[in-house]
Amino acid sequence: MKKIINEANHVVDHMIEGMLATSPHLYKRLEDKHVITRKNAPTDGKVAIISGGGSGHEPAHTGYVGKGMLDAAVIGEVFTSPSAADIYETIKAVDSGSGVFLIIKNYAGDVMNFEMAREFAEMDGVQVEQIIVRDDVAVEDSTYTVGRRGIAGTVFVHKIIGALAETGASLAEIKEVAEQVVQNVRSIGVATSPCTIPAVGEPTFTLKEDELEIGIGIHGEPGIERRKMMSAAEIATYMLDKIFADIEIHSGDDVAVLINGLGATPEMELYIMQYEVEKILREKGINIYRAFVGEYMTALEMGGCSVTLLKLDEAWKELLDAPSDAKNFFVRS
């Protein structure tokens, strides 16, 4: 293992301090906790949006904290759920009295800890609702999940729900839209090389030099199959076939596309994927309303990418385009 770190068991703490130092105008840390909230949290009259999960997926989820998106991100150890206690403290810290909405990726640990925190907060009289994101079409049950995994499509949920909350929408309205968004977002990933958890020191899996794993999870969990390395055109076709087998998107529909690098893939390759995905969608008569290319939800230094399609409702376009101060999803007002 060759990593620019100090002690392996302090990576999260040190990373958070670096993030705070980078964006002191945007962030504040909940004292002694692995939690970053908006500088001015709580925001009066607004439902607070919280997301989070294990670290190692940067810029998720701290990169999406800011006006227009999340109110707070709760950060676990590398690839490990944050504690229910930290989530509970976060709920209390960002609630303005209008309620709190939790965006949870579907992993057993995350769901358990977020729901536990929710119950405690509800006992204190805080109104809490939640959505569990499960956008990965690759596999049903997996190493860390019952049901599908939550991956990069979660970022679209952050954006749309974050923007909706800024309009003063109620907790019930937010819950309803979040459920619709989750029903319309699909993703799939591929890996070209593994990643190493600092505290473990060994790669989470191995891939031969000429191999590609399709349907990989964002913790290196096994996917659908291993194949000989393919061209970008072949990979894009395979991935979109899987997505289209799962959701009906018709000619004339609008979609948002997210080509997400997993940590060690050059932007050049991500743009090539975008080019290939665009060709396939154009052939089908599907309109790309917005496309995003870059690192949005990584798996440490894993090589590869994921493709996400969000079938857009007319009302969501405005929310997707609404201003956002979030460092990694900035939209100018």
Partner: protein, 210 residues
Amino acid sequence: MEITKEHITCWIKKINEKIAENKCYLTKLDQPIGDGDHGVNMERGFQATVNMLETTSYDTVSSMLKACALSIMSKVGGAAGPLYGTAFLRMSLHVKGETIVTEKMFIEALNEAVVGMKKRGRTEVGEKTMIDVWAPVVEKLQEDGALHASTIIQTAKEARNKTEHIAASKGRASFFKEKSVGYIDPGAASSYIIFEALAETLEEGACQRG
């Protein structure tokens, strides 16, 4: 028989003592099929909970159980923290507002704990988890309609030992699938300790040991 705050204090203290005595045993069970921290996590969590009980006073059994839930949830960590936290939280909710906790109500509260843990862990009986101890013990208590110490110990012990023959399908041990056969589940082992401590508490009455 009624369950009082003193019973709860005694129960938690006994759990803590037994966890400390069995820390290495729990860790050894957790090493081949888990991440080897169950003993350490449980010791840290229950010691913190005992410290809290010794320095705080509570009006009701319910508020005491809720405080235990919060402490266990935050101090045990891992999956055991939220699961045992849920158990105590559900018990607290069931006895909320009651001045006297009857035997019957306490058994109902334990059943609520099982329902909550199953829901929290998305787990049923037979998946090599702590549920494999909690569910049969509580079922037996409901059958009996009474808290008999010897029955609790016997049922819990048999249930714990049975997990040795199960292949895990939930929790971290499930990564090892068939290879997990031949090991007692660490969560089942710590759950046995919790029931052994309960049985001794019931036998001795509300002890006031420091």
